[in-house]
Amino acid sequence: MRLEPREQRSPAILILYPGLALLASVIVCAALVMLSGASPLSVFGLMVKGAAGTTFAFLETLTRATPLIFTGLAAAVAFRAKLWNIGGEAQLYIGAVMTVVLGTGFLPLPQPILIPVLMLAAMLGGAMVLSIPTFLKTRFGVDEVVTTLLLNFIAILFVSMLLEGVLKDPTGLGWPQSKKVIAEAQLPKLIQGKRLHFGFVVAIAAAIAVWIIDRQSTLGYEMRAVGHSPKAASFAGIPVNRVLAKTALLSGGLAGLAGMSEVTGLKGNLTLDLSPGFGYTGIVVAMLALMHPLGVIAAAIFVAAVFVGADAMSRTAGVPSYIAHVMVATSLLTMVSAIMLTRYRVRWR
């Protein structure tokens, strides 16, 4: 078996193959659901209902999508420039740390000023975290996949240390959690009495901003050129290392915003379970979106819907909600394969 590149891609293939990919992942998951002794039809029905069947469910999906849009953008921005940022988790947590350090009363500012300040601080925190591996990469050639990944564990342990120490809420009954952010630091809810918050709007705006940077700005051009061919970019006079440094600031900043948005929009304080792997899931989101900033919004909502739907389903149907992870994983695998098949044809012999 071998792959031969296709000279041109027909539109039919571009629509058909991703559709088939989704179908294939549904079939694989259906088999797993049957193994666990439930009916696939009712399980998928419950998932759809749980993710989008009611206003509440749909808003919950969007709430869950908010941090994924940020971390998805962070991954997409970095991956476009071939800066393999696997450290979204660390950047998210350090962004959250900056938020609770400044937002729990240290800065007594009115809301319209405090919130932008906290956003900037969180971005700065995330950006600094990614700048370390990027510096090591450009200066010493250290593989950033390893360093960004390992920094995740360092960051989590660092946060744990802070939550047992200086940031520990004295009224928290001994739990490792920070104080709540002050009222001025809280992001307003979009709908009274629901969990969906202003962070979602910021996430959409961030996606549009990244899209404009990517398409229209010199920086976006430089990042794409460096991603496609560092050698040709550097020959043409594009300062590759400086572009990677800027990419790190942008990518880390976006992941840092995810932490800020979760703390000030949803949780109110920083705990060690602030992120159930949003940093890692962001990578999946970016891949599903083919690194397109606007595609990240759709991909994040899809992934969030699978998780929220699976949570709801497992409460009723008794199938473990881990099925959500399997679904996201299989849909990523089938989608990536389908996209490859739109570019290459398989020859058997």
Binding site: E7, Q216, T218, R224, A232, G237
Partner: protein, 516 residues
């Protein structure tokens, strides 16, 4: 075997009706060839004529859509490289496939012994290699490390590798690309010895002179089709050229012209990168002249090009442009000073293959006021610039949005020319500007360089094609092991002199002011 005339000899290899299509491109269209025992068959054709595809089918790397291959009367199963090897077909690639950190012996034996065999019978192998080397005149020490060998010696190892596997049919793909003229002549002698011993050879080339010197018969491919088969005895160079191109092409010739002031001055440049060194390079290039640099590849030409294009920073020595010594260098510095840089590798360095034509033409100037304002690119202006280049340089492409990867080598080079010539450069660095181009595109590039010379640009032309150097350059210098000879006027330089200097003879190192 042993019959007297070529016509009566038995056929050892027969390709019949080979057809291979890649998408819309018909790479091989019903090609039939036969190779007789004891002959050297030339396979002549431009890049893209289908030579490589045909040989890949012969070796089982590709499966033909139609057609059949017979070796000594037996049909070769398609798509099985192992079957081709077992049938006695040996290939010597243009780019060697040797493991540099192993010995000659290890390289030759590699892959011929079973994986499960615990001991390797190296004494026996050594004896056989010595025997083969002696029999075919391929002197090489079996215990030498490949990295220590010269390019010519490495080629001998490649050939020995094929012979060790009992190859009866040798395919040589552009074997002279890395050799000096003298080494090429020696190779032709060796090949003649091979066929006298009953081997059969397919010699792939796009150089007419070599085909005439080495082969007994020639098959000409054009656009995937076999257009002619001739005996070399009754054919002329110009006839072959026309068969290969399908038209006749006038050669660009440099007119006599007085050169002006010094544009680029290198003084005692030392640099080092990977295995390449520059060991005190001093040279001047004047306005309105082409300075040609010859040399066997790997003697420092690439590094010299990197220094002039700003990619490599010299460890010692000075670089002066129009009399002003440069305090710092870099690709952007050079571009801004009006240096047009045509890189050696247009795929990896010159262009970003996965980006569009528009995106590629602005890669050196996207920050200039012409294309960018406050950090945002005006894609409308960029597209206009791309369209201007496409029309002015006759780039064949579907649209400025097309990815550069889809262009042919010649069109890629035209794009690079358009980009670097846009601002009327004072210095043009052309590093292997015609490598891998078809003859039409080669001629186009030559005309562009000569036109720039006429405008008064200084041109540094680095090339491995001696004909090209001698037809374009006003002066020619030779590089050898990081040093450079005095540039001598074209009129007093012959291919033979250049060949000797490329091999290291008569290089006057005393003139290098900072030579170690």
């Amino acid at each position: 075997m042993g019959k007297t005339t070529a016509g009566e000899r038995e056929t050892v290899l027969r390709l019949s009706g080979i057809t291979k299509q890649f998408g819309a491109l018909l790479a091989n269209d019903d090609i039939s060839l036969s190779l007789r025992r004891g002959e050297i068959l030339g396979l002549l054709g431009e890049n893209g004529a289908g030579k490589t595809t045909l040989m890949n089918i012969l070796f089982g790397h590709y499966v033909a859509d139609a057609g059949e291959i017979e070796v000594e009367g037996k049909v070769l199963p398609p798509g099985l490289p192992a079957a081709a090897l077992a049938a006695g077909i040996g290939m010597v690639h243009q780019h060697f496939t040797l493991a540099e950190n192993l010995t000659v012996l290890d390289n030759i034996v590699l892959g011929t012994e079973s994986l499960w065999q615990l001991s390797s019978n190296s004494q026996k192998a050594r004896t056989r290699i010595r025997q083969l080397a002696q029999e075919f005149g391929l002197e090489v020490d079996p215990d030498a490390i490949v990295a220590s060998l010269s390019v010519g010696e490495r080629q001998r190892v490649e050939i020995l590798k094929a012979l060790y596997r009992k190859a009866k049919i040798l395919v040589l793909d552009e074997p002279t690309a890395v050799l000096t003229p003298q080494e090429s002549a020696a190779l032709f002698e060796t090949l003649k010895r091979f066929v006298a011993k009953g081997l059969s050879i397919i010699f792939i080339s796009h150089k007419l002179g070599e085909i005439l010197a080495a082969c007994s018969r020639v098959s000409v491919l054009r656009g995937g089709r076999l257009v002619a088969e001739r005996g070399v005895a009754g054919v002329t160079r110009s006839e072959l050229a026309e068969l290969m191109l399908g038209r006749s092409i006038p050669q660009a010739k440099a007119e006599i012209q007085k050169s002006g002031e010094v544009v680029l001055g290198l003084h005692g440049i030392h640099a080092r990168h990977n295995s390449q060194v520059l060991d005190g390079i001093t040279l001047d290039i004047r306005a309105g002249e082409i300075l040609g640099i010859a040399g066997v590849s790997g003697n420092g030409q690439s590094l010299l090009a990197d220094v002039v294009s700003g990619v490599a920073v010299p460890t010692a020595g000075t670089l002066a442009l129009k009399g002003a010594t440069l305090s710092r260098t870099g690709p952007r510095v050079m571009v801004n000073l009006g240096v047009a840089r045509i890189p050696e590798d247009r795929h990896a360095e010159g262009l970003i293959s996965d980006m569009s034509i528009t995106e590629n033409v602005i890669s050196e100037s996207y920050r200039s006021a012409e294309f960018a304002q406050r950090g945002f690119i005006s894609w409308k202006k960029a597209r206009g610039f791309a369209l201007k280049i496409i029309t002015a340089y006759e780039v064949k492409c579907p649209s400025p949005e097309a990815r550069v990867r889809l262009l042919s080598g010649g069109n890629m080079q035209k794009l690079i020319l358009g980009r670097v010539m846009a601002n009327n450069p004072c210095l043009i660095l052309a590093n292997q500007p015609t490598r891998g181009l078809d003859v039409g595109a080669v001629n186009y590039v030559h005309e562009q360089l000569l036109a720039a010379r006429k405008r008064g640009a200084a041109i540094l032309l680095i090339s491995e094609d001696l004909d090209e150097l001698l037809s374009l350059s006003d002066r020619v210098a030779v590089m050898f092991r990081g040093q450079i000879s005095n540039a001598s006027p074209r009129e007093s330089t012959s291919i033979k002199d250049l060949g000797l200097m490329m091999a290291g003879h008569g290089l006057k190192t005393g003139n290098q002011s900072h030579a170690a």
